[in-house]
Structures are given as structure tokens and as C-alpha cells.
Symmetry: C2
Subunit: 643 residues, 2 copies
């Protein structure tokens, strides 16, 4: 009897094709409802285009069109000027799940799973029964191919239904036409928001969005520069799993442990390799194929005990401070926030995958004070619009006590409420998404920690900003009181005593007893000629004919002794420095430093510098630091803590 | 040049094995961090056991042991008394992702993906490099087989490392031993909580949990009855995707549309089939294999226009009101809540999959008033512990304005705060989880809507409960005032006038002017003999030697006219009714109904009934309704609105 059961059950056991799996679980891929399905379809297409263009060093021109048919059916058309796809690869790329070029490469890219675009084809077929149509051209003087295809879900293979050749008036590119069941009325806003966010963090992309009624939205390219290319790297030893290590040893061509370590991993030079072998008490000449599990375990432990250089960050492409500020400013253009702060963490590693975190906070202005702060999330320059509740950035933010930064938060945990927008961007060679729909990042402790550290840094900046502001307001009140009331008293007393009014400069200075620093920022439209700069050679690479940011800093000595100190003004990394007066002591990528000559009591110095390569408003506030003077004497700048 | 790019890119395109995919994306499967990995491993094992035992009609005995090794490595041992697994199937079931028996069956089960248990093996191999060990015995008089296996991730196939035969002192069963990297210290609480929750909603399972220090926790079986077996059904036409319909037509053996509809779908009898064919203007004799996409489209549309019977719910196994109450009571045993309400929706359909929703609310007591309400989520009798933020139940609850029910909720959206626990259970033939880790249900509009409706019903009950309570308290105050002060006044006045004290009954009755209903519930331990009940034949099937619930209802007529009306007392579906006095007019699965004879002013009637088959406390409050009397005259019962 019992045997019968086990045998009976055995007969039901069956292989499940991955296409069949996702056909039944389409919500996992982001097709759970018709609104979201529309966005997911556009997103997968656009992500692919941006990746392919970056890999091929082509400035992307993205065209998205949605045609709204009867009863909830939409035709989605996504076209690019990319490199095109070789004819034989088209059925695999569009008609097979788990097939792609970016899965095995350790390098930052938007697509990593080999699922996205074929999932759109699968969803279209499932909901409308229609075939997908792919037009592709790979060379200027050749015709384009047209492929109509379906997916055989039992086999997870494409069925090519029709193939043809046409003339296509384009040097190269790909066009996908696909019919899906989608809710255009509700989904439209998401598609628009998504494309807008994409264009902000991908300023090199030109995106056109055509609505069913013919309305065209153009998100213009604002930079002719492709993002710096992400270099493919080897896995980093920190955090590589033991099982992966053993698997790598089986596939390596190296016959010695030392060459295995040096050739298959990043950051493993001679010195580190020796140190690892020594710590693990393994001979450098061991053949990795002959090593036991215990030996790999020793090696794996040694990786964690030896100091190994952080992974090269060439494989990552962070958004950068200026773009983050610009993106946040864009979101807040109508609410004139008080200030925007950003923080960027150095690259780190989880499970052998390098990653980097950048965050930003917009504070104040007419942002609602009662509502939860708005979260903006990005991963590898792709905006994440769904599943916020389950994202590591949400849990990282929730674990910080925001009450001391003027935000409301019941019991010091959870998403705070208040006038702020929080942005998080994680870039990595492998973003650990919680599911194939790629909308939330999993709760990896290393990533959560980095996001927390970045937000704490931002929070400190917010705090210091508020403190500075409070101190400045108080001092200004004192200053106005003194400069208005004292002369009045002096005048009245002099009149009463019939004596001349005395000079009050010294008295005022004695009462104020501070060095006062104020600044002013203006923007000027430049001529089409490039900005003259002798300081950086690569200035010609920057965009010409834009805006010049002009910053003036006024320093007044209201102390009763002469003052002499050093002043630092922080500048964005991607700005080009133009005219600077007085002559600075030092200019780096991050700051300009002046050695200010003795300023006599009641004297004033004007400092001026120009920045090119930025948009109007990118740099809208000076971040000033002082050295060789007691910081408590100074209003308007903080103590320099070193680079 | 351009051609070179497309060809160069083509060379990098590669197939990705599903095992390889999940090896790199283990967080998708619930192995994102060592704490969660421990729980996921236990969960996948236990879910499988419960499914296998239910399918084989075996009362499950589950044994979970965790051994804590050095440096974050744990050995997880999961053993059962199930049917065992045929030798040749072991490598497939444990060493291959996307392989299983429950994927293709339209029936409620815990496992549905064919991923879970092989994912545990994959994770163990990845993090410890060790093999999994499976012991299995399928028949009492045969030896057990021992299989040690690994997964070849490039091929997604098992590698059997060793196979042996041993004696195992057990009629049949399976034992899995697996080493994984896990955080026992943090993970322990989750494992305990999970097993406890499992035992509450699976009272037929006996679960033993052995900790590394040898401590054993026993979650005892509290019911000898297996849950009613879930019948496998055909897909329901409502919500089946067009693409699936076309695919089904290709695989059918039917040569006529009418027989295709009747044999491949549920709820399609002759009448409905005719109506669908007529509405779609398709001949019943069409060969489904010859039909065009447009014809299928017409058929697909007709499905939605014709009234088709809801799917048979035999394929579903909801938890049931009593178990839900018991589960909630268990969670709140130390906080003596004010009351518990539940609501259960009829079965519904999304994308052709039947599903059913049950919810419950615990309210008041010493539950914290400042914290967000606690959510308890279940899917197919499996507790969901992670990813709450992204679950459809969370968004359904968040979209209800809870402020009128005494809970705090900023701007009427989001998880409310207050003294309550909310439970949601969704049962379905296919739970649309957001990812393979099966911790959150996707935002399917149909499911969200049903959860909302169920919670609204609960909320109304909460509301009515609060109203009833307020009214009763007010009336009681009035009552006490009258019965204390009036006689006092009468006495003093009589003394002053030197007259006898008059009877006040009629006066009190006139002032009160209500019918007052109060109830009392007591429990009595039964003898081992079965409860005598002539009302239901299946009473012997119920558990013997438990508790008898004794409910006494007192009805007092404080109106100045005789009253005659009908009284309904709701009873749980799974209770067995014993003695009832006075003789009821009707007993159904859901209520007992009395036709109360005329009650004279100031007279009282006692009503009594017994319930068997429930635990102590399962039924702890009467839900009373009245008919043929103005409800505003009655305190302690509501107007009967029909069944």
C-alpha cells in the first residue's frame, strides 16, 4: 500500500520549462496587472536599448510609441539607433527566457538576467495570442530583417513564424512591435514618469514618447558624453561563496593555486596571493583541481583574514553628485526647497560583487509636512517604481531615527513624515533584486549598511545645515541690533553731553566678535566658444555653450584683532574651474583653497570663482570650510576636517 | 564597423541554466541573508512534508533538528513519516530546479513551483560546498535508500555522489540532512514562530523542533482529522488568458469546440457551453485546432459575457472560522482582547485560478495603542513572515479608512495604528507570489478586492460591536440608576406620607422600555465517550474527549407589553450541537433559531445550548439576532438580515 503511494506520486513528477513557469507566474516578472504590465514592457525594452548603446559607444535615440486598441489591448513599439541584432540571434534573444550576454559578465549593466525582453514577448502572446515583430538592421548598406515570432513555452524556444527583408531608412537599429493587454489610461502616467526619470539619470539619451492620440513628448539629450564605460572585471575574493570558489576551481585553466588566484580574481596581486596562501597554510603550487573541500574552506577563510584591496570601481558607473542634485532639483522645481545634500560611499563588496551607494536629500520648501517623505529609488541608473515596501533602501531609511532632523517618525522607526525627498542609487555588477521584475533590492546586510551610512552622512549635513542657519540668523539679529541701536544711543548721549558722536567701529567689532562669511551665486549664459581654462586640460571635453556659475564669497572681520586663515570652497567633481580671484593656493577635483592674508578688524575681502560644465542651478550654494582659525569665531563656514 | 558590433555582441549571447540563475540570485529564493536562509530551508522542507502527507492521507509527524556548527554553519535535518520517495526520483526532486508534481495540478497545495527544496540543496552547496543527504523508505518491509547528491548548476541536474541501503526503523518516510551557512542565533526565533504558526493552522500535524543544545519543543497534534482533501480541477473559463486558451486548443484531444469546452474547463455544462458558443457566434462543431486567433478572441470575450457558475471550491481548503479564531486567540492569550471577529468570502477567480479569502481582527485588550497593528499573513495554510510591505494584503488593508473604527491612520491610508491584530488567509490553486521565495502575494486586483471586502465586513462587525457595547453600557447605567434610585424615592415618599411602598415593577419597565438580552458561556471537560447528538450524523467523526461549550442566554422583557419574537444564535460551522432548550424551531450549520413564546412584562426566559467539537474558548461570545420585533427595542441582539 505504502509503496503504491510513493510510486503513484512519482508518476506525477515532471520537469517544468522556465517559460511555462513564468507563463503561470507572470506577476513575478512584473506583469501582475494591466497597469504594471504596460510599464514593465516599456522598461524592459528601454533598459535593453541603453545597455546595447553603451556597450557599442552609440549615443542612444530611444523611440517609444503606444497605440491603444479596443478593450484593453495596446501595441507597444520600441525603436532604437543601436547596433542591431544578428539575424540568427533574434529568436534566442526575444523568444527564449534565460538567454543573454550580460548574465555572465561582472560589470554594471541594466539587464542582468536574460529574462526581461523575452518575458514581454511571452506576456504579449499569453494575453493577446499575437506574435511579436522584430525589425533589425546591423549595417548601413544592408537591408533590415523582419522576424515575426512566438514562444513555444513547453520548450522555452522561439517559433519563427515569418521572416522577411525590408528597406529601413536608418543606419542601424532595432524595432520591436508587440501587442499586450494593458491599461493605458492608468499606466500612462507611470510610463511618462519612468521615461522622465530615465532621461534625468541618463542625460546622454534622447527619448521620444508618442501617445495613442499622436502627442509626442521629447526628453532631450542634455549631454553628448556617454557615461564612462564599465569595464568587465573578475570576481572579488571578499564575499565569494565557498561553493562558487570550488566551482571556479573546476573550470580554471590554471594548474597552480597561485596562478588560479591571480587570474580568476580581481585585486589579487603577488603580495596578496602570497599572504592568502600563507594564512591558509596551502602551498602555492597546489593544483586547484586536486584540492579538498577542507582546503577550499581554509582558503575561503583566509580571504576574510587577509587585507585585500577594494575592487576596482571601473566596473561601476555611479550617477554622480551633480546629476543626483539635478535630478532632485527637477523633482522639486515648484517647491523651492531649502537645500539639497548628497552623500556618496566608496565602493564595497557583497558576495564578491562590487557595489556603490549614493544618496541625496531634499529638505524644506513647500514640501508637505504631514505626509511620509517621498522615496526615489534607482538601481544601475534605472528608476524603481514598484515594491517600495520591500526594498532594502526602505528598510535602511526606516531604521534611522529621523526625529532629531526635524522629521516626524512614530517611535523612531519607519518611513519618517516631513518636508523631504530621499533618493537612493545603488550601482553594482549584480543588483540583488528581490524578484525577476527588478523593482526592489533584497535585504543584503552589506548594502543596507552602506545605505544607512550614506543617509547618516546626509543627515549630519542636514543637521549641520540647520545649525549653521540657526547660528547665522541669531548672529544677524545681534548684528542688526548693534548696528542700529548703538549709533542711536551714541547719538543721543553725544547730544545730551554736547560732544561729537564717537566712531563705533571698534565697539561694534568688539561686541560682534566674529568673522562673517556670506556668499552669492549667479549664472551667466556662455557664448558658444569653449570656456578658457588653463587649469584642466580635459575642459574641452566638456559641453560647450552652457551656463557659467559665478560664486562670490564676502569675508568680513568683525573681531578686534587681525585674522589670517585658510578657506576651502567645495566644488562638484564634474565642474571645470574658470577664473579664480584672489589666486588660490590649491585647486583639486573637489575644492579650491585660499590662504587669506591678514584681514584687519572691520575689513572685508571679496573672493570669486567661476565654474563651467554645470547647468544653471546645479551649484546653488557654497559649502565653505576654514582652517588655522578657531571655528567658533566664524559664521558661515565650518572647521575643515581634512580631505 | 557597425556590423562588427552586432556580430561581436552576438558572440557573447549565451544560454543561462536555471540553476546558475538562482545560484547568482539566491536572494530571490529567500536566501538573501543567513538569518532568512535558515528559515527558508526549514520552511521549504516542512511545506513539502505537509503536502506529501495530505496527498497520501497520512497524519504528518514532522521532525526538525538544527545543529549549530562553527562559524555560521548549521546542519538542518528534516524528517517525516510520509510516503517516501522512489529511488530514481530522489535526484530529480532534490537536485533539479523546476521539477515537481504540483506545478501542473489545479489544486491548492503549499508547494507549486518545483523550486523550493532543490533551492535549499543549491544554497547548501553554494555556501558550504557540502553534499545533501537524503534517506527515504517507501515500504515497511524494505530497506531505506541513502542518497548523497550535489547539483551541477551548468546543467541543472543532480550529481549522485553516493548511494547506499540501510535499515531504518520506520514504516516509511523521508529524511533530509543539509549543511548551510545560517545565523542560528538570529534565525532561531523565526523558525520557532514559523513552526508554531504552522501547527496552529495545521492542527493535524505533530511537529518536533530540536535545538542545537538538545532542547526539544513539541507542537502537539490537536486534531486527528486530515483537512478535507483538495480535489484537482480543470481551469475555470473566467480569467483564463487568451494565449492559454489557444495553447489548450493545441493540446486537446477533443475534435469539437463543444467537447473541448466541456472536457477542458470546469463549470462548463451543456447549457453554459451552448450559451458561450451562441454568444461568440461559433459553431459547436468547429475543430478547436482549426480555429483562428479571431475566433478564439470571440470565444474569450463570450466567457466574460455569459454567466458561468463559480468554480467548485473542492480544490480549496480554507482555514475556517474556528481555526482562525483559535489562531488569533493563541497570539493574544496574554492580552485578553475585547473581541475577535472574522469574515470569509465566497470563492472567486483570477486568471482562471479559484481563490478564497478569510480574514480576522482581534481588537482591544492590552494591545499597544501607539504601534501599527500587527499583520498576520497566511497563504495556503503557510505563514508568510517576510516581505510584508509588498504583499497585496498590506495594500488592501492600507486602502481602507480605519479611523472610524477607533484606529489611528494618518490621512486615512496606510497601515493603521492601534490595539488590533489583522489576519489574512488566501487559499488558491495558484497563489501569485511576488517571487520564488513565496513571502508576499502580488497585487492582483481581484485578490486585493476580495481582501478589502472581507476586511470591510470585519470592520463593520467591529463597528457594530462597539455600538452594541456603547448602547448596552448606557442602558445598563440607566437600568442601575432606575433600580436603585426609584425604590429609594418610593420608600422615602411612602414614609413621609405614611403609606405602603408601592410595587415599582411596572414603572421600571415603562422607563426602561427594552428587551434585555444577556449571555454567559462556560466550558466543561467531556468524558471520553462521544457526545450524544441526534441532530448530526457525522458527530462521531469529530474528536472525542474534549470540551463542551455551554451557552446560556437570558431574555428579560422590560417593556410594558408582552413580547413575542424569533431569536437566532450563530454557531461555528464545525461545531456539533448537543442539548438545546427550549426546543429550537430550526438548526442549520450556521445558526440555531427559536420562536420565543409571548414573554410578559418583567418576565425572563432562559435559553440554553451545548456545542461539541470545539476547544475551550473557541466559542466565547454569542452573536445574536432577532426577527419580528423592532430591533431598537432590544439590547444585546441585532436585526436578522437573512442568511
Amino acid at each position: 500500500m505504502t509503496e503504491v503511494i510513493a510510486h503513484k506520486l512519482a508518476k506525477k513528477q515532471k520537469e517544468i520549462s522556465v517559460a511555462e513557469f513564468f507563463e503561470r507566474n507572470k506577476h513575478i516578472l512584473g506583469f501582475g496587472n494591466p497597469t504594471r504590465a504596460l510599464l514593465t514592457s516599456v522598461k524592459e525594452g528601454v533598459d535593453n536599448i541603453l545597455d546595447a548603446c553603451e556597450e557599442s559607444s552609440i549615443l542612444p535615440e530611444v523611440y517609444v510609441e503606444i497605440r491603444n486598441h479596443e478593450e484593453g489591448e495596446c501595441k507597444v513599439i520600441i525603436e532604437d539607433n543601436g547596433p542591431g541584432i544578428v539575424k540568427n540571434q533574434i529568436p534566442h534573444i526575444f523568444g527564449r527566457l534565460l538567454y543573454g550576454s550580460r548574465f555572465h559578465a561582472v560589470r554594471q549593466s541594466r539587464g542582468q538576467q536574460g529574462i526581461g525582453i523575452s518575458a514581454v514577448v511571452l506576456y504579449g502572446q499569453l494575453t493577446t495570442g499575437k506574435h511579436a515583430k522584430v525589425i533589425s538592421k546591423i549595417q548601413e548598406d544592408r537591408p533590415a530583417t523582419v522576424t515575426e515570432l512566438a514562444i513555444d513555452t513547453n520548450k522555452n524556444r522561439a517559433e519563427v513564424v515569418n521572416r522577411d527583408i525590408i528597406h529601413w531608412d536608418k543606419p542601424s537599429g532595432t524595432r520591436l512591435e508587440i501587442s499586450i493587454v494593458a491599461d493605458y489610461t492608468r499606466g500612462k502616467r507611470f510610463v511618462y514618469d519612468y521615461l522622465q526619470s530615465v532621461s534625468i539619470v541618463n542625460p546622454h539619451a534622447q527619448i521620444t514618447f508618442k501617445e495613442p492620440d499622436g502627442t509626442e513628448h521629447l526628453f532631450e539629450r542634455t549631454s553628448e558624453m556617454l557615461p564612462s564605460k564599465c569595464i568587465e572585471i573578475k570576481p572579488h575574493p571578499h564575499g565569494v561563496e565557498l561553493g562558487t570558489l570550488i566551482k571556479m576551481s573546476k573550470n580554471t585553466k590554471s594548474r597552480k593555486l597561485s596562478s588560479f588566484l591571480k587570474s580568476e580574481f580581481s585585486s589579487m596581486g603577488d603580495r596578496t596571493t602570497n599572504a592568502v596562501c600563507e594564512k591558509s597554510q596551502l602551498s602555492k603550487d597546489l593544483n586547484p583541481k586536486d584540492m579538498s573541500r577542507e582546503q577550499f574552506l581554509a582558503l575561503h577563510k583566509a580571504f576574510k583574514k587577509v587585507k585585500i584591496m577594494a575592487p576596482n570601481t571601473d566596473c561601476l558607473s555611479p550617477i554622480g553628485e551633480t546629476l543626483i542634485k539635478r535630478s532632485l532639483k527637477h523633482e522639486t522645481q515648484e517647491i523651492s526647497p531649502e537645500f539639497i545634500v548628497t552623500a556618496s560611499r566608496p565602493a564595497s563588496v557583497y558576495s564578491g560583487n562590487p557595489f556603490q551607494t549614493e544618496v541625496g536629500i531634499v529638505y524644506g520648501g513647500s514640501l508637505s509636512k504631514d505626509k511620509p517623505v517621498k522615496l526615489m529609488r534607482f538601481a544601475n541608473r534605472v528608476p524603481l517604481l514598484y515594491q517600495q515596501g520591500d526594498c532594502v533602501s526602505t528598510s535602511a531609511i526606516s531604521s534611522i531615527d529621523w526625529r532629531r532632523y526635524g522629521l516626524e517618525q512614530s517611535s523612531g522607526r519607519g518611513i519618517p513624515s516631513g518636508p523631504a525627498i530621499f533618493l537612493t542609487h545603488v550601482s553594482s555588477t549584480l543588483i540583488p533584486f528581490t524578484s525577476e521584475s527588478k523593482e526592489a533590492i533584497a535585504d543584503i546586510p552589506e548594502i543596507e549598511n552602506e545605505i544607512k551610512l550614506a543617509f547618516r552622512e546626509c543627515a549630519r549635513k542636514v543637521q549641520s545645515h540647520i545649525n549653521k542657519k540657526v547660528r547665522r540668523v541669531k548672529t544677524r539679529e545681534k548684528f542688526e541690533l548693534i548696528t542700529k541701536i548703538l549709533p542711536e544711543i551714541a547719538k543721543k548721549s553725544s547730544n545730551m553731553l554736547d560732544k561729537p558722536v564717537p566712531s563705533l567701529d571698534k565697539v561694534i567689532t568688539k561686541i560682534m566678535d566674529v568673522v562673517w562669511i556670506e556668499d552669492l551665486i549667479e549664472y551667466e549664459k556662455t557664448s558658444p566658444e569653449p570656456v578658457q581654462s588653463t587649469l584642466f586640460d580635459d575642459s574641452t571635453e566638456k559641453r560647450e555653450g552652457g551656463w557659467i556659475t559665478k560664486s562670490t564669497i564676502m569675508v568680513v572681520n568683525y573681531k578686534n584683532k587681525p585674522q589670517k586663515f585658510k578657506l576651502y570652497a567645495l566644488i562638484p567633481e564634474d565642474a571645470v574651474v574658470g577664473t579664480v580671484t584672489p589666486k588660490p593656493m590649491k585647486i583639486t577635483n573637489n575644492f579650491i583653497k585660499w590662504n587669506l592674508d591678514t584681514i584687519s578688524p572691520a575689513d572685508k575681502i571679496d573672493i570669486f570663482f567661476e565654474l563651467a560644465g554645470l547647468d544653471k542651478g546645479d551649484f546653488d550654494e557654497n559649502d565653505l570650510y576654514i582652517e588655522s582659525i578657531n571655528a567658533s569665531y566664524v559664521i558661515g563656514a565650518d572647521k575643515w576636517e581634512g580631505e
